[in-house]
Symmetry: C2
Subunit: 187 residues, 2 copies
DNA sequence: CGCCCCATGTAAGACGTTACATGATTGA
DNA sequence: TCAATCATGTAACGTCTTACATGGGGCG
C-alpha cells in the first residue's frame, strides 16, 4: 500500500494529471520529447502504471471505441493528486542537488499545473537557497584537489560548478518571471 | 566473457588505474567526493569489482599486512587498460548528451591519466561538435512548446538549454587550457 | 494477402538499494 | 570489556532493459 514511487512513476503521474492518457500515449510523449530520459520502453511503463493503480494513485478505464482495439485511459485519482502535490512541494535538499537534477526539474515542471504558480515560485526560492551553500562546498572541493588532480579531473569538477552557477542564474531569472506574472494577476 | 560494463564499473576501473586500491578505499573515495553519484554502498561496489575481475579487467591480490585483516588490492590489467581507453575515446554521440552527462564527464576526467592530454583535447572538440546541433534541436523544441506549455514547463526546458550552453562555454574554456598546455610542452 | 501501425503486455536477466552479517583490531 | 572502525561480504527486493508475443485494423 505504501510503496515508494519511482521517478518514472512520478513522471507518469504528472503527465496524467495534465491529461488522461493511455500507456501508448505516454510512451509517445516520452520518446518524442526531452523526457526520453524516463525510459520509453513498454517493459517499464506498463508495470509502472499498474503499480500506480495498485497504490490507488491512478485509475484506468477501458475505452471501447468503434473498431479500434481496446485502449485503457488512466486518470489521476484524488489520492494520486494529493501524493503528486506532496512530492512536488517537498523541500529541496542538498541530496536533490547532487543526485541529478532531473527529479527537481520534473517537480518544478509539473508544479504550476498541479499546485499553482505561487508554488512554482516557492520551489524556485527553495532551490536558490539550497544552491548557495552547495556552490560554496564545491568551491572548497576544487581548492582541495587543485594541487593533486590532473587537469582533466579539475576541469571536470569546474564543469559541475559552472552548471550549478548556470542553474542559480536560471532560478533568479525564473523567479523574476513569476514575480512579474503574479503581480500582474493581483493588480 | 563479453558482458557490458556498467557506469559504476567504469568509474571503478578509472579510479583503479589512477591508483590500485581495495574495495574499501574505493568506497571512501566515492562517499567523500563528488563521485558519490556512483553509489557508495558495498552491495554495489564489491559485486562490481568481482564482475570486473571475472572479465579480466582487474586483478585482486590479497595483502597480508601485519595484524590487520586481509585486504584485497585491485589493479587494472593490461586488458582492462585497453578497455578503459576504448571507452574513454568513444566518439561522443547525441545520446551521450541527452542521457545525462555523468558518463561523458567521467570519461573526460579519466582521459588525461589513461590516454594523455591530446586525447582530452580530442574529447573536448568532439563534445563541442556534438553540442551545437543538440542546442539547435532544443531551441526548436522550445519554440514548439512555447504556445502550449505552462510557464513552469517552458522554464524547465529553458533550464536544460542553459545548462548545455554553459557546457559549451566550458568546453571552449577547457580547450583553450589544453591548447596552451600542449603548446607549452612542444616548444 | 502481406505489411505496418496501433496498443498492450510478458519473460529473462542485470543492476542497484537497503539492511544485515562477520570478524578482526584499536582505543577508551 | 565495550564501542568504533576497518574490511569484506550476502540476501531480499524492486526496478529497468531488451527482446519477444499478441492481435486488430487499415492499406496497397
Amino acid at each position: 500500500m505504501n510503496a515508494e514511487i519511482s521517478s518514472l512513476g512520478y513522471a507518469l503521474l504528472g503527465l496524467l494529471h495534465g491529461k488522461p492518457s493511455s500507456g501508448y500515449d505516454l510512451r509517445k510523449i516520452f520518446s518524442s520529447t526531452a523526457m526520453r530520459t524516463y525510459s520509453d520502453s513498454p517493459g517499464a511503463i506498463y508495470p509502472a502504471l499498474r503499480r500506480l493503480e495498485r497504490e490507488g494513485m491512478i485509475r484506468g478505464s477501458v475505452e471501447e471505441r468503434s473498431g479500434l482495439r481496446r485502449r485503457q485511459v488512466f486518470r489521476v485519482t484524488p489520492r494520486g493528486l494529493v501524493e503528486l502535490r506532496r512530492w512536488i512541494m517537498l523541500p529541496i535538499t542538498h541530496d536533490d542537488l547532487t543526485s541529478g537534477l532531473k527529479m527537481v526539474m520534473l517537480r518544478f515542471a509539473f508544479s504550476e499545473n498541479a499546485v499553482g504558480a505561487t508554488a512554482s515560485l516557492e520551489i524556485l526560492r527553495s532551490m536558490e537557497a539550497a544552491l548557495r551553500p552547495h556552490l560554496r562546498e564545491l568551491g572548497q572541493k576544487l581548492e582541495e584537489i587543485r594541487p593533486v588532480a590532473p587537469t582533466s579531473g579539475r576541469l571536470a569538477l569546474e564543469c559541475g560548478i559552472r552548471s550549478y552557477e548556470s542553474l542559480l542564474q536560471w532560478s533568479r531569472y525564473a523567479i523574476s518571471i513569476y514575480e512579474k506574472q503574479l503581480k500582474g494577476e493581483s493588480s
